[in-house]
């Protein structure tokens, strides 16, 4: 017959475990029935705790009404499934939506991201940056429209700007945008998709952002 330690070890690993040995121990032990009962109560709470509300939309800092509405409708319908068949939101809207997921990237800093972190992100997109691009303070390879793309933050004299290298999304001509609290431009990069460059708030003029976009675009060296 198993002892209390073995019984408890077994039911802690699987509170619903059942075997003749467990049943026999339970029938004769003065302490383990109460132990089991407490454990099963806890297990019920655990199952309840794990079932978080899968419909709660993640909070996004949309300021424009139509974008907030579009996002909530997508969430309500189940983004993951309908994304397969639904027409895509505009590229600019997707870029803006992506920003909400990484708010810390916008920190103003004079600390560059280590080369060991930056280079693999750029290499994933078959590119490198020459120093004319400015100081890169943040670099991640982010999931965007089903692809991993470089998400960079470049520090400028007027503050941080975000650059997304959208090698899988082409645009025919420059697309300026001003929505959701971000102002930016998506410029074509012939043969390599497009480049989204954007700033937070309204401090940066569109002309300045377009100029920054041109500078970053010129600083990219394609390696593949």
């Amino acid at each position: 017959m198993i002892d209390c330690a073995e019984y408890r070890r077994t039911v802690l690993a699987d509170p619903h475990a059942a075997s003749p040995e467990l049943a026999e121990h339970l029938a004769h032990c003065p302490d383990c029935p109460a132990y089991s009962e407490r454990l099963l109560r806890f297990e019920g709470r655990l199952a309840q705790a794990l079932r978080i509300d899968a419909q709660v939309p993640r909070v996004r800092a949309f300021r424009s009404g139509w974008l907030a509405m579009a996002a909530s409708v997508l969430v309500a319908l189940g983004v993951g499934t309908l994304w397969l068949g639904a027409p895509h939101a505009s590229l600019a809207a997707d870029v803006v939506a992506h920003m909400a997921g990484e708010p810390d990237a916008w920190a103003r800093t004079d600390v560059p991201v280590p080369s060991a972190d930056l280079n693999p992100v750029l290499a994933d997109a078959h590119m490198r940056l020459d120093s004319d691009a400015g100081m890169v303070s943040y670099a991640q390879s982010c999931l965007f429209r089903g692809h991993h793309v470089p998400h960079l933050v470049v520090q400028t004299a007027r503050g941080p700007i975000t650059v997304m290298v959208l090698v899988h999304d082409s645009v025919a001509k420059a697309q300026p945008f001003d929505e959701g609290g971000y102002r930016g431009v998506i410029v074509p990069v012939p043969g390599h998709g497009s480049l989204a460059v954007l700033a937070q708030g309204e401090g940066e003029s569109l002309a300045d952002i377009e100029s920054l976009a041109a500078r970053v675009k010129d600083a990219i060296v394609w390696t593949g």
Partner: protein
Amino acid sequence: MKDDVGGNAGRARFQALCQALRPDLLRFAFWLSRDRALAEDVVQETMLRAWKARDSLKSESAAKPWFLTIIRREYARSFERKRLATVDVDELIAREEPMLAAAHDQDLAELRAALFKLPEEYREPLVLQALMGYSTAEIAAELGLSTGAVLTRLFRARNQLRALCGEDTSMDPAP
């Protein structure tokens, strides 16, 4: 899903399957990553990869473990690509507070916060068992572990979780 997968009927069936499974897949990805935004991205990417690989799904009854395997792979890929830094758990809890909150049930919110504090090696098998209904053998197969190792992790997971929640663990056997 080998029949008519490319046609409208096959597409509709696949979408219905995704819609039915999505809540649990999102929950699993959330408890794995402890990051709602990342979980949504991982599930979305998983759906896309699943659609592309739909021919390899032998039957709809095998869909759940099939999707779970893709999610785990996709999460690992995100983890590797993003080189997620070691993060402060209290910060994570504060950031995901809307997900962890339970109206009128502070104990439940605390239990969710305690789950965030479990090491991933304990949290993942526990979620597979208590949320996804996996057996010990299925967890072992999914995680590439022996059943003995899975049982040890599950035992330690509950032991630590109960301690974190202030439960009386004085009668628990030594880990």
